[in-house]
Symmetry: C2
């Protein structure tokens, strides 16, 4: 066994999360999530099945790429088709024919995005931009009880509160439910952030109470650390979540105005978690650019979800090992017309293996042939799955720093 | 061997088309097309890859369903991405990564649709409706030389003539090229139809001349029978095409104002072909409703192409064994909300086998989740592939009439 790793064989936290290897010089670790519908090897990326499908793919495609868990969206599925319908089908997995574990977010992010505007972009350290889905919904009131808003589906009034969110996630029968939180944006005062974070902590307890009384034993609940970009609030929030009955910890809310700050906020948070609850699994909400995955794994994140690979694909963008280009190439650009190059050299994804050229993808995306977007979705998700697999292997063999440095300088996943 | 079939072991027409079994009491036959990129068992349905993709699918999906040939569209591919680009990739098959045979239509249908209006609907015996793709193109002039028109892609002038069409199909490197024809509509005089059909015959010779001088030996050319709904013109056209150097015969143009007339026009035509050129393969252009396939096979059609299964899927419609419902069920309709029924009982398509419900498909289609349309595309194409396979088996075993009668009364393909 390499000397730079410390092997822990202890069974952690009620067997739900088993840590296999911890890196010596970072907070990185490999582990296995033992969930109701199967296991997830961590660190792992979790593709989005926001409205009950990984866009353009079937579940068998997602399985074939090597993914073990997907993320469903409580807010959207609450509005349509509704929890009763999904419950009658036997839960979200049965409904969408995904046999493996599912994590559901709580709806807090989406419902507060309506009020706070482009919170998604702030969180990710980008400029403001448009987010889909919530544009024609509107918050009617926010209070201690919960949030009243207008549905973008039918214009009717809806109410989401900690208990509602847990009840919906109960109906969805996800393996991992997230507590309902206020997703505080960046452009608010420290005082607002502090009060918002305290409310999130009270909501955490209400969610856990609801789950204790009505929830299924096979569904585990993650708390959410808030606290904006204030180190003391983040640390306090991490400690509060750690002191609760939650089984895992998600990191949410505003993560800063740029990537450096976002990585710093995650660093504060996982440092605190490492101190107070090292055995609980950690999920980083909504983050998954390649550099964020590389940094996040080193900071001790176990699971990530992000729209990036699937959303970029729908806009004609392929993920490639080019750090100076943010690991992206926009194949819709005119210069790829007629290109006979592959999407990526030596790529073993099903699309590159089948020999599709950049020129074909360019043409298909521009012509509106949806197959082009599907091909890019497969390529992008394959890239990220391979990357995560390489990172897990690197942690296990004590070579994470070298592997991360290689990726940061433009190496491709090894496709081992 | 059943007594009702006559087995022909002779190698037919330069080995390109080998007929295996002829039904005794109809013109139905089974055969194998030996083409440059592989074999096609007939009677066969040919899915559309109009603009270089079978919409929402990858080539491997189409192969997995059991299809052996797809149809590409000369008109659309001529305008974008253009024949030079596809030629530089090594042809349409190499470009779209389809390893098997390809048939390309000539562009005649599309270019004349611009001038004649909703010719597609007339041909299929439906009321007028909208057809995609050519709406913003416009014919500038039609003459003996060819057709000048405005591209719907860039507004530029383009010219399609028999020689241009053959040159484009040469660049596309399809296994089967169709001659450039005037697709005469229903609402014209007998005199117009007669003159148009004569011009189509002159264009046939020009196409064959071009191919003889410049074409590849591995590309075979089909002539097209026109003649509208006039029996004598149809028969004369069939004889003219039969007397030419073409290797196969397609049936095109106006096939009447309703299905009964369409079936009659096909009957006249294949009766004539059976008399003058029984060994050449016959393709029925743009026809493929379930009842049309059942009738067409009996009339001696070897291959069919049609947008029906893929286009219906994109509108939320599944193909099912319900003759009284035109073999269709519109899953976008409100009554399928929450339905836990399968798309079709005992269906062995990959979608039904995976357990997707009508309620899920309904939800996905209404929510704009493209996965729903993909699932229906797979189901519909699977249905038709199985149907054709059953029909081939029935012809070989001398039980075509019984099999057709069973399907007409609502039997499902046997999934054998």
């Amino acid at each position: 066994m390499p000397s730079s790793v410390e092997r822990t064989e202890t069974t952690s936290f009620l067997l739900m999360f088993q840590i296999h290897t911890r890196a010596r010089d970072s907070r990185a670790r490999t582990g296995t999530l033992h969930l109701a519908h199967g296991e997830v090897q961590t660190p792992a990326f979790v593709p989005l099945a926001t409205r009950g499908s990984v866009k353009l793919l079937e579940p068998r495609d997602v399985l074939d790429l090597g993914y073990e868990m997907v993320l469903g969206n409580t807010f959207h599925l609450y509005l349509s088709p509704g929890p009763e319908l999904i419950d009658a089908h036997g839960g979200l997995g049965a409904f969408m024919r995904w046999p493996g574990p599912i994590i559901t977010d709580s709806g807090g992010f989406q419902v507060f995005s309506m009020g706070h505007g482009g919170v998604a972009d702030e969180i990710k350290g980008r400029g403001r931009g448009q987010e889909q889905g919530s544009s024609s919904s509107a918050i009617l009131s926010i209070g201690e009880e919960g949030v009243r808003f207008r549905s973008y589906i039918d214009g009717g009034e809806r109410f989401l509160a900690p208990e509602t969110s847990m009840a919906v996630q109960h109906a969805l029968r996800s393996d991992i439910a997230l507590v309902f939180d206020e997703c505080t944006p960046f452009h608010v005062t420290r005082d607002y952030t502090a009060r918002s974070t305290e409310r999130t902590h009270r909501w955490l307890e209400r969610c856990l109470d609801w789950h204790e009384q009505h929830g299924r034993a096979e569904q585990v609940v993650y708390g959410i650390v808030q606290g904006g970009v204030e180190p003391d609030l983040r640390i306090e929030s991490a400690e509060t979540v750690a002191a609760s009955r939650c089984r895992g910890v998600a990191i949410g809310g505003s993560l800063g105005q740029d990537k450096a700050q976002m990585h710093q906020v995650v660093d504060w948070t996982t440092a605190a978690l490492e101190r107070v609850t090292p055995e609980r699994p950690r999920h980083l909400l909504g983050i998954g650019d390649i550099d964020d995955l590389l940094v996040g794994v080193g900071l001790g994140i176990d699971t990530f979800d992000c729209a990036m690979p699937t959303r970029l694909a729908r806009h004609g963008v392929a993920v490639v090992p080019e750090p100076s280009q943010r690991w992206r190439v926009d194949l819709a650009k005119a210069r790829f017309r007629g290109s006979q190059e592959p999407i990526m050299e030596d790529c073993h994804c099903p699309v590159c293996r089948a020999g599709f050229t950049r020129g074909y993808i360019h043409y298909a995306v521009r012509a509106g042939e949806t197959t082009g977007r599907r091909l890019l979705t497969l390529h992008n998700l394959s890239f990220i799955q391979r990357l995560m697999s390489d990172l897990r292997q690197a942690i296990n063999s004590g070579s994470l720093n070298e592997t991360v440095a290689a990726f940061m300088s433009g190496a491709a996943p090894s496709w081992s």
